[in-house]
Symmetry: none
Subunit: 234 residues, 2 copies
């Protein structure tokens, strides 16, 4: 079956060009010209990947992205951003928008196709492992279990999600705001400092029994979970 890509873009000429290239590359293509339409199409047409313009009328691409990430069925839907230039690219990269990849205009059609395919391949290769490892800490997502070495670790729901998120992106530093978005949900209204408290509870639970701390604090930046003492992987 052909992979289905939803193109969300308000510039008609660009849409025509994209449709031509994507169909030539073996995709089934659907179009949406603004954010509202995009959300509708996602719900009814169930694309495998969304190609999303950053600048859209009515609702911005970023907002669409957020809404998709919040919805239950579309949470894992791969999203590729189309951005106008590097300045905006920085924003896509800098903010944790939940985008999976981005391409800056102008772009080559073949590059675009390659990236779309890569995204689809990535997303279809299993909905992620149900197990995460880091040093001697293991999470079994299916069983909702955490162990440190041989010891069972008991975590509250929030600490569990926090740990999962940090371990899913091992090494990466998340700001308190990013963590609130990812772990508490995009629209929660919670003090940023509350993250500290949960980090503390997480540390306390993990380090009980004198184990070393795998949670790294990065001053004025946030928190990360590290594989201990491996230099930057390259």
């Amino acid at each position: 079956m052909k992979p289905r890509v939803l193109v969300v873009e308000d510039e008609r000429a660009l849409v025509t060009m994209l449709r031509y290239n994507l169909e030539k590359a073996g995709f089934a293509v659907a179009e949406a010209f603004d954010g509202e339409e995009a959300l509708l199409r996602v719900a009814e047409w169930k694309p495998d990947v969304v190609l999303l313009d950053w600048m859209l009328p009515l609702v911005s691409g970023l907002e669409i992205c957020r809404r998709l990430r919040r919805s239950r069925e579309a949470r894992a839907l791969p999203i590729l951003f189309l951005t106008a230039r590097s300045e905006e690219m920085d924003r896509v990269r800098g903010l944790d928008t939940g985008a999976d990849d981005y391409v800056t205009k102008p772009f080559s059609p073949s590059e675009l196709v390659a990236r779309l395919k890569a995204l689809i391949r990535r997303s279809q290769s299993g909905a992620g492992a149900d197990r995460l490892l880091c040093a001697d800490v293991a999470i079994d997502l299916a069983q909702h279990r955490v162990t440190r070495g041989h010891r069972r670790v008991h975590l509250g729901p929030t600490e569990f999600r926090l740990l999962s998120h940090l371990m899913r992106h091992k090494g990466r530093v998340f700001s308190r705001e990013q963590l609130l978005d990812a772990v508490w949900g995009d629209d929660c209204e919670v003090e940023a400092r509350t993250v500290d408290v949960h980090i503390r509870r997480l540390r306390k639970a993990l380090n009980e029994g004198g184990a070393s701390d795998i949670v790294r604090t990065v001053r004025s930046a946030g928190y990360a979970i590290d594989e201990p003492e491996r230099a930057i992987p390259g």
Copy 2:
């Protein structure tokens, strides 16, 4: 291009079975029957992921894993352990092996494939382009981490931003005022001389342990970071 998996396993029958299943699942497969061969194959064939038996003749799986982690190119190579039963699984988990995941025998081929794909996906999405290199100094922006050679370097937030900025524009000289604008922010009200102090702190942190200085002072102009010892020809 097909993802490449290196199977390291001494039991021939198992290798045959694995090859059959993995190729059916779209992997390119290479084999190694002991540790030495494995290391060779990694170096020459550059697999995307290694499937490593825990029990191997001559050199144990654990040892291979360690050596791979120590080498520069294979440091980030995802490794999936094959272990005989839960007792060994505990060791994989308990020791700080550097394994990314493990599967216990007997296993279902589809589970194995799913985990391999998950590992590859994770490692490809994680290997961000958010790195800056200069000589033996590396910055990983996502991880907020700096290394010099194999040593981790701790920097305060300001020094981190300063180094990032200088390395993003390798070789270029910035005046104190330019650095204040770029690193401290457009409208900050800080003495220009303060830049000196942070440059000092940066140098001190980077050169700890007697490394050569990569920060260049340009009298009456400012500072720059250079790729070392490439003399201007002519």
